[in-house]
Symmetry: C2
Subunit: 193 residues, 2 copies
Amino acid sequence: MILEQVDEEGAAGLVAPPANFGMVDAGVYRSGFPDAASLGFLRGLRLRSVVYLCPEPYPEANAAFLEAEGIRLFQFGIERTKLQDPYVSIPVDAIVGALRVLLDVRNHPVLIHCKRGKHRTGCLVGCFRKLQNWCLSSVFEEYHRYAAGKSRLSDLRFIESFDVTCLRDCMLRLIYRYHDCLQKSKRLQYDVR
Amino acid sequence: MILEQVDEEGAAGLVAPPANFGMVDAGVYRSGFPDAASLGFLRGLRLRSVVYLCPEPYPEANAAFLEAEGIRLFQFGIERTKLQDPYVSIPVDAIVGALRVLLDVRNHPVLIHCKRGKHRTGCLVGCFRKLQNWCLSSVFEEYHRYAAGKSRLSDLRFIESFDVTCLRDCMLRLIYRYHDCLQKSKRLQYDVR
């Protein structure tokens, strides 16, 4: 990717990633809401899908970009948590649904974003890390880094209490399907020869 | 990688990434100094090299880990910048040397680290982003995120003034060598058939 970007952009054209942009894992990115200036950068990522975590409809300019690039939008509308109500809860179903999208490599490369890339995105990535067996202190450290001084206790509680066992089955099914895919493509190769 | 980790670690064993760990790009990671608890996590990354940015010798336990895993150590000793002296300068040669290692995909996956993963690592990643044509405001945003409230003006000045043109030639040579490698391996494949 590094070499490709230089190849495409040349020395002159600067690129502007969306605010709070970061790489979560191979094929998984996170950010705040992508503005018009960042669409050129996103084009370079050759995204296959976007996981959008706000309930508001996707703005027209962004939707047009996705359509032009053939990027699939998965929307899981999560209301903005209120700072004054630390006990408001993130809907577990939305996070589970979004995790299913993230776990399926056929959706990669995928960009997760909400409004600021801090709280809703932070919760989803935190649960994703739990699935990757990260210890909670490391999960929280990463959450704090992207929350940039705006960490919310309710988010940390949500991540801590999120039960990943419900998704283990989903992961195992995906692993089997993935292995099956690999075997099929191998068989196809043998057939050709 | 996601599926492999789950496969290896199972549901029980938690992993602890080093402090301030993050993914810079495909095959490029950054962190603070890896402690004993994080070596299991690093094993999962299947690193091929480490770029170490402190002048102190590599601790025995970490060196033994690298040897056992067949990971190559590239050390570029950069003295810790002093907060009270904002005009102390990072050695350009060390950053250029480290960037050459990062740009060569034969060294990937690679982990960059210093002591806290904030200042020296932040400067190197900042220069790497300039090579990727990131606009300066995005480069600084990322620097601040990992510096976690300990940003240093001298680092920001260094990144801003770092001239990437000296490395463009190096990148082009690498692109050619890489293409050449690809062609050679293709030829080898044809020979075998």
